[in-house]
């Protein structure tokens, strides 16, 4: 009864907001993104809001109604490739990306194309370290921003797809490329780079949204003489990696920008890089005005397993020790779930959320106490988690309604090998690799963790370790997918499956929810298709 009343109220709110925002339809000023939670019919950033919770306040699709979920429309991606996009939705238009770096605008009522833009990608483009994917766009005012696999950031007119500006963020000949959705701040577009597997020295950039002019650049690996350079040995910082390949988060009240960093290079041979290798496998809290680092927290010092920390940094406020704290949480690739105070970087909690065999525990400051014999070797060293991690690029979800952090976990080991590492610009600089122990011995799970402690409340087991992005909703649901093509809704409180459908290909897309004409929809890409579901 209470639930129904809440449904009716929130649906009214959505409809009212749809009317009030129509005056500025298509225009997305910064303040509108700050208040994104007040217009749940839209999906304005990669993770929905600056908090990157991937939580929808819409509740028309809920525990009672979800069995009536049916396909509303589908859109076929035109180029083959892995589709890992999270669409954004603004006032009736969905902006999605297609591999490798195409942007398409769709009418959300019909699924019909409004415009599409494909940059010219050189035939000899260098993409080492991941498939040539794209995870989404950002929007600010009337401009859509996309990063490309040839290392560019391109600004497009949101109504036509016409190019406003196109700049090189990094030299692709050196191995720089972009797969992430940019983050739009007040007048600035922030992006990171991929390329640690070619030995780049990575950075985070902020560009003027109107002109494409570089406003600031913050390297994730300090140069000689800078703080942290003594964690690298004499010269390995020059090829130190520390990629920044996933979208960050932002707290407008604290005015802090949070960005995660990736593995040191070379990945599996650390002979030339003694020390902690700051600021790799870390989170950086920065001043968005100048990119200065306010605090940092390193999850995996001296990483030798390619455990990038490029997982979503989820912001929420919750009671810890009797008072409400501003928190930042991450389920890290290294199999630990971390909770930090996002104002100060203070470590508050850290526990394994998946099998790991590399650390005895975390100490009081969150630093791992490593076990002996975990290093990659010529003959191979079996370690959990696997080479692609207990988590990876795929998005978790946090529900303020349940206080739970929902995470896809990959239960798989890898035999890690150490090999030669030879730096040649624009070529693989790896120093080894790994052989994942897959098959029936490996599996996956959706896990609901208490947001403030990481304690597991429930688990929904998956057949194989997937790349499962999750969406939680005010309707009490968690949506996710599997490698075998299932897309499903779970009860957010218990993990019980309430609805599922077979989509015919691995679900690598990232789910979102939006509303139009008073009806809620859920969108997910699987295989080469974007599927949109609504109530029958």
């Amino acid at each position: 009864m209470i639930h129904r009343r809440f449904s009716a109220v929130s649906t009214t709110v959505v409809l009212l907001l749809a009317v009030t925002t129509s005056r500025a339809a298509g225009q997305v000023p910064y303040q509108r993104i700050v208040r994104a939670e007040s217009e749940p019919q839209n999906w304005l950033t990669y993770g929905g809001t600056y908090k990157q919770q991937r939580f929808s306040q819409l509740d028309q699709i809920n525990k009672q109604t979800v069995p009536r979920l049916k396909l509303a429309w589908a859109y076929q991606i035109r180029q083959p490739g892995i589709v890992e996009t999270s669409p954004i939705v603004v006032d009736g238009i969905m902006y999605l990306t297609e591999p490798p770096s195409t942007v398409t605008a769709l009418d959300v009522r019909s699924g019909r194309t409004l415009w599409t833009y494909s940059p010219t990608i050189p035939a000899d483009v260098i993409v080492i370290g991941s498939p040539p994917v794209n995870r989404g766009v950002a929007i600010l005012d009337d401009t859509v921003f996309v990063g490309t696999v040839h290392g560019h950031l391109i600004a497009l007119d949101s109504r036509s797809g016409a190019v406003r500006w196109d700049i090189a963020v990094g030299d692709n000949k050196q191995g720089f490329y972009l797969t992430l959705a940019p983050l739009a701040l007040d007048g600035k577009i922030v992006v990171g780079v991929s390329g640690a597997e070619t030995g780049i020295r990575a950075y985070i950039d902020a560009y003027d949204a109107k002109t494409g002019r570089l406003v600031w650049r913050t390297h994730t690996v300090p140069a000689a003489g800078e703080p942290g350079a003594d964690t690298w040995g004499p010269s390995s910082w020059k090829t130190g990696g520390g990629s920044t390949w996933l979208t960050g988060s932002y707290d407008p009240e604290l005015n802090l920008l949070y960005w995660a960093t990736g593995n040191p290079a070379p990945d599996w041979n650390a002979d030339q890089r003694p020390g902690d290798n700051l600021y790799t496998d870390a989170v950086l809290a920065m001043d968005p005005a100048d990119g200065k680092i306010k605090w940092h927290f390193q999850f995996t010092p001296h990483d030798v397993h390619d455990w990038d920390a490029n997982q979503m940094l989820v912001l929420f406020d919750a009671p810890v020790g009797g008072r409400t704290r501003k928190l930042l949480a991450q389920a890290n690739r290294n199999a630990f779930y971390y909770v930090l105070d996002r104002a100060t970087g203070e470590f508050l909690a850290g526990v394994p959320y998946a099998k790991q065999t590399w650390a005895e525990r975390l100490d009081a400051k969150g630093r791992p106490i490593k076990r002996k014999g975990i290093e990659p070797s010529l003959e191979g060293t079996l370690i959990f988690p696997n080479i692609q991690g207990a988590a990876n690029w795929f998005s978790p979800s946090y529900s303020p309604r349940t206080g739970l952090f929902y995470q896809g976990a990959r239960e798989m080991g890898t035999v890690y090998y150490k090999g030669e590492a030879e730096f040649q610009p624009g070529t693989a600089f790896l120093g080894g690799g790994g052989r994942a122990v897959n098959g029936d011995e490996a599996w996956g799970a959706i896990r609901a963790l208490e947001g403030t402690t990481g304690k597991m409340k429930w688990e929904f087991r998956l057949l194989s370790p997937g790349f499962t992005s999750l969406l939680s909703t005010a309707g009490g649901l968690v949506f996710g997918g599997t490698e075998e093509g299932n897309f499903f809704a779970l009860d957010a409180d218990t993990g019980k499956p309430l609805w599922d459908i077979q989509l015919g290909a691995a679900v690598r897309g990232i789910p979102i929810s939006y509303a139009v004409d008073g009806r809620q929809y859920v969108a997910i890409a699987a295989g080469f298709t974007m599927f949109v579901f609504g109530l029958n």
Partner: protein, 265 residues
């Protein structure tokens, strides 16, 4: 002047000879280093000294998928994913050369004569009724894996074990469906809510459903939430053990016959 010319000539000779010695030394070193790489990266499937196992034997003068050096480099550096050969890791040019050298050296070692007689093994195959479940050159039943190319795909030790203890070496899938590396021909027992039992091998599976093929070659599809029990039996095989049905000589002959099946019609 003449001294100088002599010196120059001697130097030329030294330069001409030294690379050959160096090359010979490097070739030996490459094989040794390549062996170390092989024992880390390849031995799990191709067996110690490349005698084969779950993957094909490599101790042959000519490899089917890699008849020359260039194709061998390609197979090692890219894998053959749809046949279960992964690219275990990216190698440097130096490492690739070493691994190629070692694999090539395996084919230059004289091979021991097979213990069995393939022709007699063919008779064992027929008498034991293998063809009721396996296809060779288009003839036979389809309950078990097709064996037309099995001698090219598996080593003799693996084949011997597959005959005496089939459950120990159930094949692993090479395709993405139901999942790369998943056990194929995995025995599964499904017990319906009314108590009816269906036993078969897994054909496919996802989180919510499973598909089986029973001993009569009939397909069954179940929604997991609608059955009482799904019991996977990774320690079993629908194929019986032939350890006591065949004597040692017959086993050797059968393995020799299976090893001779190379897809050459």
């Amino acid at each position: 002047m003449s001294t100088n010319r002599l010196c120059a000539g001697a130097l030329f000779l030294a330069l001409a000879v030294a690379p050959q010695r160096l090359n010979a030394a490097q070739a030996v070193s490459d094989v040794e280093q390549g062996k170390k790489l092989f024992q880390g990266l390849c031995v799990t499937c191709h067996g110690f000294d490349g005698t084969g196992g779950e993957g094909p034997p490599l101790n042959r003068p000519k490899l089917t998928s890699a008849p020359d050096e260039e194709s061998l480099r390609k197979v090692i550096s890219q894998g053959i994913p749809n046949r279960g050969m992964p690219r275990v890791r990216l190698l440097t040019e130096n490492e690739l050369r070493q691994l190629v050298s070692y694999v090539r050296s395996l084919g230059q070692v004289s091979q021991p004569a097979p213990r069995g007689n393939a022709q007699k093994g063919s008779e064992v195959y027929g008498n034991a009724g293998c063809a009721s479940c396996h296809i060779v050159n288009g003839q036979g039943g389809s309950l078990g894996p097709a064996l037309t190319e099995i001698g090219r795909l598996r080593g003799p030790q693996y084949l011997h074990q597959a005959v005496v203890d089939p459950a120990a070496v159930l094949p692993r899938g090479t395709l993405a469906v139901p999942g790369r590396g998943f056990t194929e021909f995995l025995p599964v027992l499904v017990i319906m809510r009314g108590g009816r039992e269906v036993r078969g091998v897994r054909i496919n599976e996802d989180v919510f459903t499973i598909q089986l093929r029973d001993m009569t070659n009939t397909f069954h599809s179940f929604r997991k939430s609608e059955v009482e029990t799904i019991r996977k039996e990774p320690d079993k095989s629908l194929m019986p053990s032939y350890a006591k049905r065949l004597n040692a000589r017959e086993l050797d002959d059968l393995v020799a016959f299976l090893s001779s099946l190379r897809g050459e019609l």
